[in-house]
């Protein structure tokens, strides 16, 4: 078995329909998850992977129902543990293409530790984190990404926790691919899914997702047409960080080591910040930008190469076998100090 070769088998020509399971989808009407599901199903044929080689692993929460709706292999596991389960699966089966579907509570609260380690190990997985800034399945408590002071059932006078930024967290953990997309931007979502799925190593996508029941329009800053025009910053490799309406373009530039927003026409071209996915330090600065003082970056913040955990492990195994032959328990049992009694 060659390490990490999901594309080994020729995949048939699929359509979106091939990836739709026979299960009734049980999310609330109007949930952002529907759009994500459609986008994932639509991008699957582009992976070039036979569908029997695709596995979706999830934890617990609304997002984690996802595997039931994909006509692939799937495992709906326990709260927060999907990254750890997926790690074991990849180590056992490096020939499979494995997705992890999680949410802000599942992936960053109860499963925060596993998320940290799966990213630093760079396990070859595509991780989709649906961020709706609320606990939906348990009916509306604040989540680790909820804004400070959030009023919910469990925080009637406002939450006292400062939120975690998923992109900054992922980059801090040493993630090798970090991107952000939005449930209401189907085309961009598909583009990001394709990029992430082809990354070698742990690919982390934050998908800004709407919970229309418990936290409606939490991301209105990039839903509302006018606001989106003002704040959306599309990250494209080799292009300057420009955003805003065509008649009033703004630029994010560096003022020393501090990002700063300026009118684009007021700075020379040489002062523009050119986006470079290989520059993880720059990505860390981008991760912290958000409205209203800054634009909201959308796209791939960072994509770099690093050793993949299970590939290294399996190379060690292959080397041990090629150096000394496969293990033989009969030889092992009689190795070292033994003595005969007759």
């Amino acid at each position: 078995m060659s390490p990490s070769a999901p594309e080994a088998k020729e995949a048939p020509k699929y359509t979106k329909k091939d990836f739709e399971s026979d299960q009734d989808v049980r999310w609330c009407p109007g949930c952002g998850d529907y759009a994500i599901l459609a986008a994932v199903q639509k991008t699957m044929p582009d992976l070039g992977v036979p569908k029997e080689n695709i596995v979706f692993i999830s934890g617990i929460g609304c997002s984690s129902r996802f595997p039931y709706y994909m006509n692939t292999y799937g495992f709906h596991t326990i709260h927060g543990r999907a990254p750890a389960i997926a790690t074991g699966l990849r180590l056992a089966r490096p020939d499979l293409k494995v997705f992890v579907v999680t949410g802000d509570g599942d992936g960053l609260s109860i499963g925060g530790n596993h998320m940290l380690h799966v990213l630093r190990r760079n396990v070859n997985l595509t991780i989709l984190l649906f961020n709706n800034r609320i606990y939906g399945l348990t009916k509306g408590q604040y989540s680790p990404t909820s804004e400070f002071g959030k009023i919910t059932k469990s925080t009637p006078t406002g939450s006292a926790d400062r939120p975690v930024n998923p992109l900054a967290f992922a980059l801090g953990c040493g993630a090798t691919f970090v991107a952000r997309t939005v449930d209401r931007n189907i085309q961009h979502m598909e583009e990001m899914l394709r990029r992430a799925a082809h990354h070698r190593g742990a690919a982390f996508i934050e998908i800004l997702q709407n919970c229309n029941v418990y936290n409606d329009l939490a991301w209105n800053v990039i839903y509302d047409k006018e606001s989106k025009l003002q704040y959306e910053l599309r990250l494209e490799p080799g292009k300057p960080l420009l955003f805003g309406p065509p008649d009033d373009r703004r630029a994010v530039i560096m003022d020393g080591v501090v990002p700063k927003v300026v009118r684009a026409r007021e700075v020379p071209e040489s002062a523009l910040w050119i986006h470079d996915e290989k520059n993880v330090n720059a990505a860390k600065l981008l991760a912290d930008l958000f409205a209203p003082d800054f634009p909201v970056p959308i796209g791939v913040l960072a994509a770099v190469d690093a050793p993949v955990y299970e590939e290294v492990m399996l190379e060690q195994e292959q080397k041990a076998i090629s150096d000394r032959g496969p293990g033989d328990i009969a030889k092992l049992l009689t190795s070292g100090d033994t003595w005969k009694i007759s």
């Binding site: 039931y68 750890a84 389960i85 380690h117 492990m313 293990g327 009694i341």
Partner: protein
């Protein structure tokens, strides 16, 4: 201990024959007592004795020198007959410092051999051990024991004075003086230790030379010093013929997995988080990549079991190992394996608790946790090895059952089995039962929870198999189809089905071996690492003509199908355990039998003497 004095020829000191002896080396944790004990064990194995060992060390890596809690010891019993335990009371105690004397003297038999390193009995060490005066000056000590005051430090330094080592390095070899001396006293061959030194210190010839000289100096001291009037021989034991090796429980568990991986031709993934006393299993498995055994040192206990479950979903053998506190953390994930009906093997190397408890000490108090320590109805198969070597077979059997029944299997070892060693008759691997892993490949009539009529196992499907794409999970599902189901009757059916599947593992259990008469006054029922102590006590009672038998359970869930019948064949039932009465509770509940417990929870193995007392009390008492 029976002694027959036989004058030795060619030696000016008399050689007495013993049929068994119990020795303990005790000193500071930096004194190398574990190594000394292990080498003495190897020498005794060479001499053909049966033996059992009990290493006992502090949890602290470098406990402050000279303190009571920093004392480390290694005990072994060796004999010319079957040796079941490391022994209760000591025939010989080697105390390298005052703290070691203080902690261990109470276990030495009256008239026993007491060897002390006099130079360590100075003011600072005496203070640290809480001695107001030097106990060696108390005439009562020499009256009660055969006390030998030896300046081991001084003699050691003298033996190596011309070697290019600093004083600390020289001083550190003094444990080999003790080993040499005790090896002379019990006529152990020095060859295995000399060979070991040569191999171990190839890169440091001065250390090798120092150790060799000191070992020989200790041996010569016994031979020439006027103080030792006699020494002892223990004849080779009559053991089944074959090739033997020393085996510890943790290594045996690891090797059992290797054997299972090779036999099943399926890769094995072992997820673990470092924890005493289970870590050696991870270390051992990590050495054997050639067996396609993949080890993950996970970020925590939950990740460790989760990785094993993920591997099992992928069609590998998923195994996780820990001790009680880690098993508690894994509980929810084990429940997932129960409902997802995936094969999973869980090793619990029990230690003293609750909470952190006594990390390096043994206990048997996780039986209830294994049986019931998860939310809701969550049955798993539970096995327990009886001896260090038995761990090999139990690990193998756990994989076989897990794969055949698509069920989690918990193996309850303990700190005593994990670190203890015994001479182990090496098996022929081909005599082990086959592990037939059948992955479903046919999509015709496939459903994820379609069951095998004999085992109730659902099909194991490797992702990557075309046409069998399916989803499973922790939510209750409809039997056969595996679709999510909240139907009340279906849930009741699934609860019963998961329990019945575990019950059917009883088909795998061979008839129970009864050690003693098939009917009688008393049956002693044990499980796990107390096997040796119980067997020794029961055989003693049998020699005394008492109507006593014993049964040792390797299968704790399900219990052997013939056990209920066996229990009724005896007037009384005694259940010795290192907990406050867990198996006894199960037996009473399961069989309505008036079994009584014998329970000590000290972090130590049960002594066969104390079990003997409990046996004697019950044999003489009315039912």
């Amino acid at each position: 201990m029976s002694e027959t004095a036989t004058p030795a020829t060619g030696n000016r000191k008399s050689l007495k024959e013993l049929d068994r002896a119990v020795i303990r080396f005790a000193g500071d944790s930096g004194d190398g007592m574990q190594l000394t004990g292990e080498q003495f064990t190897t020498e005794s194995a060479w001499a053909g004795n049966d033996l059992a060992t009990l290493p006992n060390f502090p949890a602290e890596i470098r406990a402050p020198a000279g303190t009571l809690f920093g004392v480390s010891s290694f005990q072994l019993q060796f004999g010319s007959h079957r040796v079941y335990t490391p022994g209760d009371r000591l025939d010989c105690l080697v105390a390298m410092n005052p703290a070691a004397l203080k902690v261990h003297l109470r276990d030495l038999k009256t008239g026993g051999l007491l060897i002390v390193n006099t130079q360590a009995f100075e003011k600072r060490n005496l203070d640290r051990a809480g001695y107001a005066t030097n106990p060696l000056d108390d005439p009562a000590l020499a009256e009660r024991y055969r006390l030998h005051k030896v300046d081991m430090t001084g003699l050691t330094l003298e033996a190596v004075k011309d070697l290019p080592l600093d004083t600390k390095e020289k001083d550190r070899t003094k444990n080999f003086f003790a080993l040499g001396l005790v090896s002379w006293i019990y006529t152990r061959p020095l060859e295995p230790t000399l060979e070991w030194m040569k191999k171990k210190f190839t890169k440091n010839p001065s250390i090798a030379e120092a150790n060799t000289r000191v070992l020989k100096a200790g041996h010569a001291y016994g031979e020439t010093a006027e103080i030792f009037g006699e020494h002892y021989a223990v004849e080779a034991a009559e053991m089944p013929p074959g090739l033997y090796r020393a085996m510890t429980g943790n290594r045996a568990l690891a090797w059992g997995l290797l054997a299972a991986a090779q036999r099943s031709k399926v890769p094995l993934v072992y997820g673990a988080y470092p924890i005493t006393p289970a870590s050696e299993i991870l270390h051992e498995l990590a050495l054997h990549k050639r067996f396609r055994v993949r080890t993950i040192q996970a970020e925590d206990e939950i990740a460790a079991v989760s990785a094993a479950i993920g591997a099992a979903f992928g069609g590998a053998i998923g195994v996780t190992g820990s001790s009680g506190p880690g098993i508690a953390l894994k509980g929810e994930a084990i429940g997932l394996a129960v409902t997802a009906e995936l094969p999973l093997v869980i090793f619990d190397i029990q230690r003293g608790g609750p909470s952190t408890g006594l990390p390096t000490k043994t206990e048997q108090a996780d039986l209830m946790q294994a049986l019931y320590g998860r939310n809701s109805e969550s049955p798993v198969v539970v096995l327990a090895p009886a001896t260090p070597g038995d761990c090999f077979y139990v690990a193998y059997e756990a994989v076989r059952i897990a794969a055949k029944y698509m069920v989690p299997v918990m193996v309850l070892s303990d700190g005593f089995l994990a670190n203890g060693s015994e001479p182990w008759l090496i098996p022929e691997p081909e005599t082990l039962p086959p592990i037939e892993v059948q992955f479903r490949t046919s999509s015709e009539g496939f459903f994820p929870y379609l069951r095998d009529p004999a085992t109730l196992a659902r099909p194991w499907v490797r992702p990557g198999t075309p046409g069998l794409e399916h989803r499973i999970g922790g939510i209750e599902k409809q039997d056969v189809t595996g679709n999510i189901s909240y139907d009340p009757e279906n849930h009741d059916h699934m609860v019963r089905t998961r329990a019945e599947k575990v019950r059917r593992v009883a088909q795998e259990i061979p008839p129970t071996t009864i050690n003693g008469p098939a009917t009688g006054d008393l049956l002693v029922v044990g499980w796990g690492g107390t096997y040796g102590a119980i067997t020794a006590a029961v055989e003693r009672a049998q020699t005394e003509g008492k109507s006593v038998a014993s049964v040792h359970l390797r299968h704790l869930n399900p219990l052997p199908p013939d056990l209920g019948h066996i229990l009724r064949e005896y007037r009384r039932v005694l259940v010795p355990e290192i907990n406050s009465g867990q198996l006894v509770r199960v037996l009473r509940a399961e069989y309505l039998v008036d079994a009584v417990g014998f329970n000590r929870v000290r972090g130590l193995p049960l002594a066969s003497e104390e079990i003997s007392e409990a046996v004697n009390q019950l044999v003489g008492s009315p039912a």
